[in-house]
Subunit: 106 residues, 2 copies
DNA sequence: GCAAAATGATATGTTTGCAGATCAACTCCA
DNA sequence: TGGAGTTGATCTGCAAACATATCATTTTGC
């Protein structure tokens, strides 16, 4: 099962790749998202879990959108995103391991 | 521009619709997500902004996944989600208003 | 090689998400 | 009618996400 830290790491990695592909600095993203640079750094490195509003602000600063989609639709959405070329960042896809349950990790 | 409270309200409404369509109580979702019922209630009513990990836990308890997708792909994804029938909850689609910028609201 | 920029990291203080407990209001059904 | 279940709401206390400031380290460009 994926730990909490691993999940935050995935989100952070996603943000980092998006930021670098946009040619932006941590400070620029932090400013656009309305948070401090140390805070954004913690989020990007997976050391801290941003609030929902902060998560959305960061995503939008990076040209992304946070979506809540039915789990059964995830593969179709990823298929829609994947072939789109090689330079756009892949969507945050949490578990390739499609086991049954989703008990909270703590 | 969409305020912070409005955005949290959209997320909460999305969770509420998903919960009711699953025939679950607030307490059941809270248990699966690993948080207390008062906390889940605040999140569902938009009174509180959950952390990223809590957001993901709640989504999975409701059969949903949190995804970060390029903004330009949002319409295509919504089109993929929409015609799917009438009983599955629509994805969280933040702005029908497609204005340019995404400055943080506070 | 050197200066500037970007990043990593730490410290103090404030805000707020969180647990746990408790109570009231409302619905529903036997 | 009346009890059980669901939801709304408040309180105390703790943990962690925030700001701001300040350092060192690494990277970048001239």
């Amino acid at each position: 099962m994926k730990s909490e830290e691993e999940t935050l790491g995935l989100v952070g990695d996603h943000f980092r790749r998006a930021r670098l592909s946009m040619g932006m600095t941590q400070g620029q993203v932090a400013d656009l998202a309305g948070i401090s640079r140390p805070r954004y750094r913690d989020i990007e490195t997976g050391a801290a879990a941003a609030r929902t509003t902060t998560l959305i602000n960061i995503a939008r600063a990076l040209g992304l959108e946070m979506m809540l989609v039915p789990q059964v639709m995830v593969p179709a959405i990823e298929a829609l995103l994947r072939p789109e070329s090689e330079d756009d960042q892949p969507a945050f896809s949490p578990q390739p391991e499609s086991d049954d349950d989703s008990r909270p990790y703590r």
